[in-house]
Point group: C2
Chain length 242, copies 2
């Protein structure tokens, strides 16, 4: 691939001269996302994508400079799922909450997102759109741009971080290839040892109290609580408008 000096977002899709390409970047990206969704991110290889599309592997490099570029495109493509422009309603808190829930839903639909997003700045057009929308919710308040971006960043941080925790076990189980029952059985002896050793009394309470009560919506409730606390904190402490 040429143009290695520039960046995937700024590279023309089609050359000026030669024959028309038979695929598009979007097509390739969609195929890659489908594979990652269905078989996990570790099953995503260039050969696998090529097979899915019925092309030769080397052909993909006519569209992408590297696999890294493909991963960037995947992340930006799913960022578009967070939704189109939900016009600011005037209720900044409600708007930000909506964005947070949408973002969480998208991550749950594509659990491989979190591991990719670590170490990859979100500079794709759809990611930038999402940030713009979040900022727009705060715009009517008339605060300094530094405050606005900080609010958006911390909110984003919480959503991403919480989702990582939520998905960690689920992803570990999936990668192990066995069912959840076998996975828990494999871990039970170790956790039992920790609990009965007595040096983690509070953790022991968590594990015991969460034996079955660990309701299916406990993660969602925790997310909701933390989100509202963070919004509370900002609402109570927004600096005086200039």
């Amino acid at each position: 691939m040429d143009d290695a000096h520039t960046v995937v977002w700024n590279r023309p899709e089609r050359a000026a001269k030669g024959p028309a390409p038979s695929r598009t970047r979007a097509e390739i990206t969609a195929a890659a996302i489908a594979i990652a969704d269905a078989e996990g991110i570790e099953a995503l290889s260039m050969r696998r994508v090529a097979k899915e599309l019925g092309t030769g592997t080397a052909s993909l490099y006519r569209y992408l400079a590297s696999k890294d570029d493909l991963l960037d495109l995947m992340l930006d493509a799913v960022a578009a799922e967070d939704g189109g422009p939900p016009a600011p309603t005037g209720d900044w808190r409600g708007d930000l909450r909506t964005l947070a829930y949408r973002s969480r839903a998208t991550i749950h639909r594509h659990p491989w997102m979190t591991s990719l997003a670590a170490g990859r700045p979100s500079l794709g057009p759809n990611s930038l759109d999402a940030t713009e929308h979040a900022l727009a919710a705060l715009d009517p308040l008339g605060f300094d741009i530094d405050v606005m971006i900080t609010v958006v960043d911390t909110l984003h941080a919480f959503v991403r971080g919480y989702a990582i925790g939520e998905l960690a076990q689920q992803e570990a189980v999936r990668r192990s290839g066995v069912g959840i029952q076998e996975w828990m059985d494999a871990h039970a002896p170790y956790l039992d040892k920790v609990v009965s050793a007595g040096r983690h009394p509070l953790l022991a309470r968590v594990i015991r109290d969460a034996e079955l009560p660990h309701a299916a919506d406990s993660a969602e409730r925790g997310f909701q609580l933390g989100l509202e606390r963070l919004l509370d904190g900002w609402e109570a402490n927004l600096p005086i408008r200039p």
Copy 2:
């Protein structure tokens, strides 16, 4: 490796019968961490670790069932850096703040942590210790264990999520192999185009206002602000004690 049915934390390090092993798991883990710190997580291969230790590659599999186990051990080893038991001072808010800052410092020392931690539950002994300590800071308040673990989880989520955002660009630059200046030069045309297109007026303000003012401590200030808002939110809304 045998004992594939059990879990790395619960597997005896030394066999009962044969000759004494010449390395330890901790030694291997330390070598792996050193490599990841110095050359990045993508440079970490089993062959590279073996070379570092002066052993044969296959020998590592006498100590570890898989590379995945090694990654788990690495994460738990750095979790120990978060520090020993900082006895609860009675000031729960200060204690949690201390833990958050320590955790952030550890992540900055080992930027590969975030990408590993995504998709990997923190069940190692040192990670469990850290959680126990965080819970201990809240224990004197006498709240329900569910509330306590939610506070700790949301705090953890914020710290992890914020660090991911902080490190994303830095890691992308490092992976690209070029200096920060070349990296920014490569991205500038694209960002200029976005800004001058005019469809992201708020982002444009962020980019322009952060041209140079983007002080070295701006990330730290954002972290501090977000953390205090989250703690504010909890402080103002802790449920009535039973």
